[in-house]
């Protein structure tokens, strides 16, 4: 009985940990990439304003 | 400097403009991905005109010429060669096109004459023998005609490339920096060579040397800062002769046969693949047999079945690395892509090459395993299995070989791609072998030969359907 529950626990734990880990990882990466893109865009806009003045 | 007019300037002779321009560029933007190198280039060349694209290195001349040569798609705008759009009617445009790039696209193991003869068959040149001799004479290589291309100097190769590009009287001849590898004398002789080889072709050449431009061309176009302009566009332009006809269309099987003969000749001379593959087969078969020598005492047919088809799968994925890769490394893939043939003919030829290799390897295997395991493997069922396995494996590997061309680390990637896809082929081969050697299993005959035939049909259909997407760049 207890051994069965251990197997069950391990099985579902692996599934949840991997799924949520992936979700958190991907969402974090989106945030990182978007921030970087945003920064570069700001920089470009600033440069453009400078150039047109 | 005023920008080049979009419309072609009226002809100096005042004749009605019945001939279409040889080359038209309409607001053509070229570059890579989203990176624009040259923007909104409009230009038109009449037959017989020689125009120099003059600009510093890195100005985008090569990118423009490669786009016109249908080797990369434009980002925007249109271009047409002999009236055929270079994007929508690639094959028609290629019939009117000759291209000499930075590196020669010639086949090293063929002689100068054989190279030209090979291209004449791909371009459907009539009277090929005399045309080839004439071209060799004009570029001054008549004495070296039977020397292999890899033994020629760089300057000689460049002259041979010029002869190759002009063989079929192209409507437009594109020369990318011809002065980069030609010596001064050859550059001085270039106009005379062009006059003799293809007087009616429109020539567009790129250079960064104004002197060369003045020597060869009668019009100059400046490429600078991503734009193209023409300083003296008002000048008189020569009367246009009729545009040359360009290449003839070569039927699929003729093209495939030409390519196959070329591959066979190169293989015969270079012995690139066959010896290594046969030695590898010998080695792997002996290795597997040693590894299974103890269980083999009880179940020799099972060992034979496993070893035979697993080895063939490994050999297929290994030779897939070189199949298209060798063409790419030698720079000859560009030559094949420029030819106005159905590109599937290239696939057909490569398919036959691979299938021949695999058949030879498979037969060697059957002989070896018969001897090592004391089995009678040389029988009808085994030959049928070998045939069907070869058809499927060749289809899947030849296509992956074309797919992996642009990738890094092809050697590692090929087995990674080919083995999972081909696992069913191996399993079906094992099943069919056991069925042949032991009779149908007790649980009812599994339709192994049927499965092999279906797999062969599916893989062949997939590769024929999808190959055009693999190469259209």
């Amino acid at each position: 009985m207890t051994q069965e529950l251990v197997f069950l626990f391990i099985g579902y734990a692996v599934i949840w940990v991997l799924l949520f880990g992936y979700l958190v990882f991907v969402t974090g990466r989106i945030r990182g990439v978007r921030d970087a893109v945003h920064d570069v865009r700001q920089e470009l806009d600033a440069q453009r304003r400078q150039a047109s003045e | 400097m005023k920008p080049v007019a979009t419309r072609p300037a009226p002809l100096a002779t005042g004749e009605p403009d019945t001939e279409p321009p040889a080359l038209t560029l309409n607001r053509l933007t070229v570059g890579f991905g989203r990176r624009q190198v040259l923007r909104e280039v409009s230009l038109s060349l009449n037959p017989g005109e020689r125009v120099a694209l003059l600009g510093p290195n890195g100005a985008g001349k090569t990118t423009l010429l490669r786009t016109l040569a249908t080797l990369q798609p434009p980002l925007d705008g249109q271009a047409s060669i002999g009236g055929a759009d270079v994007v929508r009617r690639k094959r028609a445009a290629r019939r009117h096109l000759g291209f000499v790039g930075h590196t020669p696209h010639l086949i090293g193991h063929l002689t100068a004459r054989e190279n030209l003869a090979f291209l004449s068959s791909l371009y459907g040149v009539t009277n090929a023998g005399s045309r080839v001799a004439e071209a060799l004479e004009v570029v001054g290589l008549a004495d070296l005609a039977d020397r292999r291309a890899r033994e020629l100097s760089r300057g000689q190769l460049q002259r041979l490339s010029l002869a190759a590009a002009a063989l079929h009287h192209p409507t437009v001849l594109l020369l990318d920096e011809p002065d980069a590898s030609l010596d001064r004398d050859a550059v001085r002789a270039l106009p005379a060579m062009l006059d003799a080889l293809c007087p009616a072709s429109a020539v567009l050449l790129s250079t960064h040397d104004p002197e060369v431009a003045a020597q060869v061309a009668n019009r100059r176009v400046i490429v600078d800062r991503g734009r193209v302009s023409e300083p003296d566009s008002s000048g008189a332009r020569p009367a246009a002769p009729s545009a040359p006809p360009g290449a003839l269309s070569v039927p699929f099987f003729a093209a495939a046969w030409t390519l196959l003969r070329k591959d066979a000749l190169v293989e015969w001379r270079a012995r690139e693949q066959a010896p290594a593959l046969l030695a590898f087969t010998l080695l792997i078969t002996v290795l597997f047999d040693m590894a299974f020598v103890i269980p083999a005492a009880s179940d020799a047919p099972a060992v034979a079945a496993g070893v035979a088809w697993a080895t063939l799968l490994l050999v297929a994925s290994l030779s897939g690395v070189r199949l298209f890769g060798s063409e790419r490394d030698a720079g000859t893939l560009t030559c094949l892509r420029l030819a106005p043939i159905d590109q599937s003919a290239v696939f057909a030829a490569k398919y036959v090459v691979l299938a021949t290799h695999l058949l030879a390897v498979g037969l060697l295997q059957l002989v070896l395993l018969s001897a090592l395991l004391d089995l009678q493997l040389l029988q009808g069922g085994m030959f049928a299995t070998l045939g069907l396995v070869t058809i499927s494996l060749s289809a899947v590997t030849a296509m992956l070989s074309a797919l992996a061309l642009e990738s890094r680390a092809r050697e590692v990637l090929m087995p990674l791609l080919a083995v999972p896809l081909a696992i069913p082929v191996m399993l079906a081969g094992v099943g069919a072998t056991l069925e042949t050697l032991q009779g149908a299993p007790a649980g009812g005959a599994a339709p192994w030969f049927g499965l092999l035939a279906v797999v062969a049909a599916v893989f062949l259909a997939l590769s024929v359907l999808l190959y055009p997407y693999a190469v259209d760049g």
Partner: protein, 258 residues
């Protein structure tokens, strides 16, 4: 300069928010569904006659296995659409689904292995289902590797689309070959009988919960791919700008720069 400006303007696409009110609803629904599924799996569903409690692992296992197949189906459809329309969005969808599909296949293999250890007494057996899943895993890992090794974006998308189609067409072939192959040495199969209506309901709820999770993951990965595509585009714009500056700032006669 004006050209670069217009490009920057055009490129500024509206990005879906990472966690707006819609996200709030979706994530709440996801958590509720997952909680209900867990409750049903562990408490509501009765123990099975032969396997006892171990079968409770099968609800999750079946759900992730089904979603792995679904994700690979999405890869195939998106690949066909990419070759047809040449819109990079389809390629982003394909790569997102492929990655999520590989993740779900991995989970299928792990959960199946744990279950098999308990019920069959072995970590691995060449059961047709297991074998097919393993081959699938290899095919789509190869798909992701192929993408990694091609630098040119257009080539990468085109080549990956072709491989995505071939890989999916290969699935039924793998399935039949593996099944007939094992029929040479048949192994006992899982008994399908004895499913009560509570078990069926539990399975349905679990599948729905995991399906929502799967779509959330694919969407997030898709957004990541779009964002990095945008970054790539921006890099090209910056390179263009730098090139312009270099050309206008330095000597600009055609003879220069030899």
């Amino acid at each position: 300069m004006s050209l670069a400006k217009s490009v920057v303007r055009r490129q500024a696409v509206k990005q879906p928010p990472l966690f707006g009110w819609r996200g709030f609803i979706v994530y709440t629904a996801l958590l509720v569904l997952m909680a209900v599924a867990l409750y049903m799996i562990f408490i509501y569903a009765p123990a099975e006659r032969v396997q006892g409690d171990a079968h409770r692992l099968l609800y999750g296992h079946v759900a992730v296995a089904w979603l792995a197949f679904l994700a690979f189906g999405v890869v195939a459809v998106a690949s066909v659409m990419y070759l047809w329309r040449r819109n990079p969005r389809w390629d982003s969808l394909a790569v997102a689904s492929a990655e999520v599909g590989v993740l779900f296949t991995t989970l299928t293999l792990i959960s199946g292995s744990i279950w098999g250890r308990h019920v069959w007494g072995v970590w691995w057996t060449w059961d047709p289902r297991l074998t097919t899943t393993l081959v699938l895993w290899f095919i789509y890992v190869a798909y992701l590797a192929l993408r990694m090794y091609i630098d040119n974006a257009d080539t990468r998308r085109r080549v990956a689309a072709i491989f995505g189609i071939v890989g999916f067409v290969d699935v039924p072939i793998v399935w039949y070959s593996v099944e007939w192959w094992r029929s040479l040495h048949p192994v006992q199969s899982v008994t399908r009988a004895g499913l009560t209506s509570e078990m069926v309901l539990t399975l349905v709820v679990t599948v729905v919960a995991f399906t929502v999770f799967c779509f959330v993951l694919i969407r997030q990965r898709y957004l990541l791919e779009r964002a990095s595509d945008e970054g790539e585009g921006l890099r090209d714009i910056v390179r263009n700008r730098l090139e312009e500056l270099r050309l206008t700032g330095g000597e600009s006669t055609p003879e220069a720069g030899k």
